[in-house]
Symmetry: C2
Subunit: 331 residues, 2 copies
């Protein structure tokens, strides 16, 4: 039996600063950018793409970090493990995540690789195409895990993007083991269909160690091989106790204990930038679960959080999500 | 007689990356921030204020640099002289100003001081309170001036903020001399009432070397000692051939050749952040003058450019200003 948790959620992911710029589809085509995906880029490609990009704004990002920012904005207690460098963008990342109340004390990387950045091109249809230079973030390994911190959180939330490197893969299995031995739960987001495709066997293995799984429809299809949405949800539900699959403007489905809950999307006046949509959906669901709400209510908080983040440019909430929630009886 | 100019405008100023965050008035009071002003801060103050600030976004700024970005967005040809460091924020600044088509080749500062940043707190009334850590930007001196570049521009535009350091003061007088010897014009913005107050005698002297002067109402009052708006404009007009004084929501007044032109502000659905309002007004006026338009038409372009920048968070235009202009016959 576990003791009372000090933290609601601990996130582990790639600590990234986003560089956001608005472009058109012609720019994506001319520069060989895969629309809607997350593509890993090396230094020469990062330099060339940045040189071609219009002026941007910089904002702290990183999938699991965005989720922690969302949970903090909802009023939850959380912490984050991720690797920045001891440079200006690393300071920006650390400032922003701490400023919203997320505990962040990962020691910075000091051996040369700069803080990770993601060149995000937002097209007029609000789609984001992400080009990630991993830099310092890719040096996260098992030694960066704080077992006491993991044991202190109701849920440890792992970001699939980190799976692109062997050391981080090992760290994920280690984190799941520590959490479960402490009587805690483990959550995972599949992050990106191409990432799932690159590491299919290992993702399938990791899902067997996960209590709560997040995916969007293309990731669910990629992992299960089922092209039909409901069939993919069913296949995931056979592997994992709680499965949350987003379905774009249609909302999401949460499958658990043999039940399927269909959750509507929350209304948005104008979708500006879908960056962070899945991250904030996960924030709402994880907040709801750790606050002791039932799964449909948790899903509806996910819809509200996702709706806020897609209504503006940038990957994290700009308004207090807590202030946007209806009374518990109305969820 | 001067030869045909290759450039419309050359800007000289503090090369700064802005860190923008929304706060309330209580935050300004609790942290000793002077509302609406530009305050110079040192390293410990910058660290303490940043630690207290909410999460922000980073965007390239700097008064004269914003003006050059505005002129480029209007379709003008311009260049910029300012000092960044060889660090990440320096790369961001250089990328953003070049990406919009401004020629920028100032050699970076490599001796330790980081790129300048300005912590800008935007309150719900859309006022911005600026806290500037000058860093590398303050090392600009006469050796950074390219005489051929100055001689190639119809107008060299100087930013009053730079006046806070002796080397830059000397550089300003040198730049004005080079420009005039090449048969070109010199423009100056007073930038900030507190800055005018700190360097009153030297500003008064410099205005005697300037062809086009920009000020807002408080700066005009500070330099002339006239509290009445029209009296201050008249006093400035006695010192300088063309005087452009902004008057907030009332618009602006341009005084030249014994005539006073009153220019209305352009309508804005919602004022979000007044950062860059004066910079973009100057962009419109300078673009109009160098395009050969009359002063009232130039002033109206200034109003249009200012209206765009105050409708969103951040100091530079987000839309093409050229596309927002009416036909010349309707200006």
């Amino acid at each position: 039996m576990s003791s009372a948790a000090k933290l609601d959620v601990l996130g582990v992911g790639n600590a990234i600063v986003d560089v956001l710029a608005e472009t058109d589809d012609a720019f994506l085509a001319a520069n060989g950018v895969t629309k809607g995906a997350m593509t890993l880029i090396d230094t020469p490609r990062a330099q060339a793409l940045y040189a071609a990009m219009p002026p941007g704004i910089e904002a702290s990002g990183g999938s699991a970090a965005n989720t922690m920012a969302g949970i903090a904005s909802l009023g939850g207690k959380c912490a984050y493990i991720g690797k920045v460098s001891s440079d200006q963008l690393g300071e920006v990342f650390a400032h922003d995540i701490r400023a919203i109340g997320v505990d962040f004390h990962s020691r910075p990387f000091t051996q040369g690789e700069p803080t990770a950045r993601c060149l995000i091109l937002v097209t007029p249809d609000a789609q984001r195409s992400m080009n990630t230079y991993l830099g310092a973030s890719s040096y996260l390994d098992e030694s960066d895990l704080d077992p006491a911190l993991i044991a202190s959180a109701q849920i440890t939330y792992l970001e699939g993007y980190l799976f692109d490197r062997p050391d981080a893969k090992a760290a994920f299995f280690a984190a799941a083991k520590i959490a479960h031995e402490a009587g805690r739960k483990v959550a995972l987001t599949l992050s990106d269909a191409f990432c799932v495709s690159r590491h299919h066997a290992e993702f399938t293995q990791l899902v067997g160690h996960v209590d709560i799984l997040f995916a969007n429809e293309t990731e669910a299809a990629e992992l299960t091989g089922e092209k039909d949405f409901d069939a993919a949800v069913k296949a995931l539900a056979a592997k994992c106790p709680t499965v949350c699959v987003t379905h774009g403007p249609k909302g999401s489905v949460i499958a658990a204990n043999g039940q399927i809950h269909r959750i509507a999307a929350a209304p948005v006046a104008k979708v500006v930038d879908t960056t962070g949509a899945g991250d904030l959906y996960a924030a709402g669901v994880l907040y709801g679960i750790t606050a002791g709400l039932d799964l449909p209510a948790a899903g509806r908080i996910g819809s509200i959080a996702a709706a806020e983040v897609i209504s503006h440019l940038g990957p994290r909430p700009q308004k207090s999500l807590k202030a946007m929630l209806p009374r518990a009886s109305e969820l």
